[in-house]
């Protein structure tokens, strides 16, 4: 009887363990590090911005360098808003076609640039 009880508990424990294993949600992805957001922003920059601002954001004939104290000092939210609105009369297009998440990634990248 005792042995039977033990065996029952063992089976119950094993079943609970298996059930626990089965219903445990997949581990949450680790929060994305700032560096991965910056890399994602760099990728977006290369796709959408580099043709005017230059591959290294150092500017070109059509758009200014982004390695400036003004970009460094601009609050993140203001920079996201600037990307959303653009400055249409002055030739900076609106990037509202990119999702807000991607505009934030661009801002992380821009903030990683050092003022020259």
């Amino acid at each position: 009887m005792k042995s039977h009880s033990f065996s029952g508990k063992g089976v119950l424990l094993l079943a609970l363990c298996m059930a626990g294993c089965a219903i445990t949600p997949p581990s949450q992805p680790a929060p994305r590090e700032a560096s991965s957001e910056i890399r994602a922003g760099g990728k977006l920059f290369a796709q959408h911005c580099a043709s005017c601002h230059g591959v290294n954001a150092t500017g070109g004939t059509r758009a200014p360098s982004l390695h400036t104290p003004a970009v460094e000092a601009m609050p993140d939210k203001a920079l996201v808003q600037f990307l959303t609105d653009g400055n249409l009369p002055k030739g900076m297009p609106s990037w509202s076609r990119l999702t807000e998440e991607r505009r934030w990634q661009l801002v992380f990248y821009l903030k990683s640039l050092k003022a020259i």
Partner: protein, 280 residues
Amino acid sequence: MFVRSSILFMLLGAAALASAQETPYFITYTHHMEEPGSLEVALNPVAGVPKGGARHFTASSLEFEYGVNCWWTSELYLDAQKTGRDSALFTGYRFENRFRMLMKEHAVNPVLYVEYEDITGADRILKEVVGFDTFEDLLEPPDEARHEKKREVEAKLILSTNRKGWNVAGNLIAEKNLNGSPIEFGYAAAVSRPLVLAASPDPCSLCPENFSLGVELYGGLGEWRQVKLAGTSHYMAPAVAWSLPNGVTFKFSPSFGVNSNSNRALVRFGVSYEIPQLFR
């Protein structure tokens, strides 16, 4: 024979040219303008499955879209079609301009669209439905329909918004044939969203962030003094876009007729390529 020639027609187009439009729409316009100085070249073939005895057809428009500046986009379309075993026909051109009316992003962003088109009755692009357009319009053989000239002016009010990754857009269309026919009205509405909102850190082509899904609804609204939904055709079109990092976008959208006046299906393909800063 028809299927082979249709496939060849589409593949030739797909191989030749390619857009970097992130919304998957074919009919509905949003407030997103072409980047200033960039030229987008696109080929959008459509395969038609008509009814009422009309023959299957394949049509295609070659598009050149140029960003004049941040609030003005200009576009030229060259249309052609092939019906059954008939020879292919050039069916005319369209020239359009879109003007963004507000210089900043708002909850709803209006854009004014003005188009002049010089096409024939054999045009089968069916870029929009207006007036009392029905499947019966396609019953006339292209050889006869091509003698009918359509010089039309079209205006659209485009309203569009982006919210939490979603784009919602609506277009109200008014079209006037310069031969004196009454003004015809139509509509298009659409919603879409990228599969993933944030970009991944590494370059990728087949990742979910490059895909966008949506659905369009478009149809006619009758004409001046007879504005109504009845007596015209309406379509629903799920749509998908796949944008590659190199500026090429592929799109696909089968439109299904949702009432008895509509064609059975219009299967649209699109391939486009954006050339940045071409004339600057």
